[in-house]
């Protein structure tokens, strides 16, 4: 292992980390702004122009709020809960390929922190761990509402992970690879995007992503109308901040994942037809990737301020009786189509 490699990765990790945090920060503002516009009002606009300093104010406020640990709470687990939530949220972005490679001098720098060849499995593993943060936090609070929220979070994420995994299997049948880098690499240009071969799979994946991120209409773990605040009822100060932050980071990462898996990641139409140099293609590609991600984040928020919350039985019905059979049907369909393509059109 050379030193330059370590430095390069370290820089990349730092950049990804900072970008993730900044995006999560500004998602909170964007959420409120979008909510405002959709409800015919302005949203926060007092701190800085267009309220651009609002996230800083919120962060500062979080830090200075009183830290409360309830008397009946399990103290260690109460602190571990939000820690796990934020850590898993942060490390999940490690396998996402942000762009092709940059060539500086004779070094080729790949814009992916870790090209794990089972990238998707890693992703699923980390996301599955993330629910522990919510579970531990909810259980350790020693509060009925928190426990209720934690139970809901656990059962919801288990149910939807199945459908999500199944929709991914259909995708893998098309791409023949588990490495995210390769999956994105295959989708160069525009017609090769996986959304064209896997539209149903994408819809299932997206619905499941909503459920995994605990976003409306599947935000049953928090649902303030029935569970006060759900799993973070007892949390205050920066611990609550960490939970919220991890939610927004999860949203960012799942947007990135959707863009990478189905919408070509950093690929953009006619990318190889302009005779641009490799570095320029990479830089434009990264920008395009982020535009796609922001579009998905906007979509997350758009849905949040449109739909009401599902009832719990509806959530379970949708997960088990609709999405899982659909995902299986999708696998079968993909298999048949691949077979026909291989036998007759190759």
């Amino acid at each position: 292992m050379e030193w330059s490699f370590v430095i390069e990765k370290f820089a990349l990790v730092t950049i990804v980390f900072v970008v993730t945090l900044v995006i999560a920060m500004y998602s909170t503002l964007a959420e409120r702004k979008i909510a405002g516009f959709m409800q015919d009002r302005y949203g926060p606009d007092r701190a800085g122009i267009f309220g651009l300093l609002q996230p800083l104010c919120d962060g500062g406020k979080f830090f200075f709020k009183e830290e409360i640990i309830p008397a009946g709470a399990h103290k260690t687990l109460f602190i571990i809960g939000p820690t796990i939530a934020i850590i898993t949220a942060c490390i999940s972005s490690a396998v996402i390929p942000w762009g092709q490679s940059l060539t500086i001098g004779d070094r080729v720098i790949s814009l992916q922190v870790a090209d794990v060849n089972v990238g998707i499995l890693y992703m699923f593993g980390v996301v599955a761990l993330g629910v522990y943060g919510i579970m531990l936090g909810g259980w350790a609070s020693n509060n009925k509402f928190s426990l209720m929220g934690a139970i809901r979070a656990a059962s919801q994420s288990i149910s939807y992970e199945i459908a999500m995994g199944l929709s991914i299997i259909a995708l893998l049948m098309v791409t023949q690879s588990l490495s995210l880098k390769e999956i994105v690499g295959q989708q160069s240009g525009f017609v090769n995007w996986n959304i064209w071969s896997q539209p149903l799979g994408f819809i299932i994946f997206m619905v499941c992503a909503f459920a995994e991120c605990n976003r409306v209409p599947f935000d049953l773990p928090e649902c303030e109308t029935e569970l006060v605040g759900g799993y973070h009822t007892e949390y205050s100060s920066m611990k609550l901040g960490l939970y919220m932050f991890s939610e927004y980071i999860n949203m960012f990462v799942s947007s990135a994942l959707m863009a990478a898996l189905y919408f070509g990641g950093y690929n953009f139409p006619f990318m190889n037809d302009f005779g641009l140099s490799q570095n320029w293609i990479t830089i434009i590609g990264v920008c395009i990737f982020f535009i796609k991600i922001f579009a998905f984040i906007f979509f997350f928020m758009w849905v949040r301020w449109t739909l009401p919350r599902f009832r719990y039985d509806q959530l379970m019905n949708l997960g088990w009786k609709m999405l899982i059979p659909l995902a299986i049907a999708n696998i079968v369909l993909t298999g048949i189509i691949t077979l026909i393509k291989d036998t007759y059109f190759s």
Binding site: F37, M38, R41, Y42, W302, T306, L307
Partner: protein
């Protein structure tokens, strides 16, 4: 039983058909509605910078008026207090002395005149009751405060400042 109104509606609970069960048409409809609102004109007034004009008959904080020589008009007759449905007005009357003729218009005046702004409902009946045209609700909003006692406005806050009548006419 006889229905009380004709607005009764029998709710039909059919099981959802396929299109309704997959939710998507309804979701897309909802999304298009919210997106349309995204581009609508925002009716919000940015309050401290922008203010809506008050209506002409807006009733704000009371002011005790002076006459053209700058003397207080109120004669402490108590009619305003009597007419007040919220019993917000209290006063203590006093007799004017020789030296105070430039201060008060009538022989009797209100030494203490207090309105409890928490009780007042801004109905304007005091204004209507006053025979001396001494009280009008033509002020601004009564502002927020921290303590209840601070909402009892005395003469220091109610009596309008002295003004120069000659300037008003010119």
């Amino acid at each position: 039983m006889q229905p009380l109104s004709n607005r009764k509606k029998v709710l039909e609970q059919k099981p959802m058909n396929f299109m309704e069960r997959i939710y998507f048409p309804a979701i897309i409809k909802g999304l298009s509605i919210t997106l349309r609102h995204f581009f609508k004109k925002i009716p919000t007034i940015k309050y401290p910078e922008q203010q809506r004009p008050y209506s002409k008959n807006f009733r704000g904080q009371h002011s005790l008026k002076r006459d053209e020589e700058g003397r207080e008009r109120c004669t402490a007759c108590g009619l305003c207090a009597l007419s007040c449905p919220a019993e917000a007005i209290t006063m203590i009357a006093a007799e004017r002395t020789k030296e105070e003729e430039h201060l008060y218009r009538e022989e009797k005046y209100a030494a203490v005149y207090e309105i409890n702004m928490l009780r007042c409902i801004f109905c304007g009946l005091c204004e209507e009751a006053c025979p001396k045209e001494a009280i009008y609700l033509d002020g601004p909003h009564v502002t927020a405060d921290y303590l209840r006692k601070d909402f009892i406005y005395g003469k220091d806050k109610l009596v309008e400042p002295k003004f120069d009548i000659t300037k008003l006419n010119s």
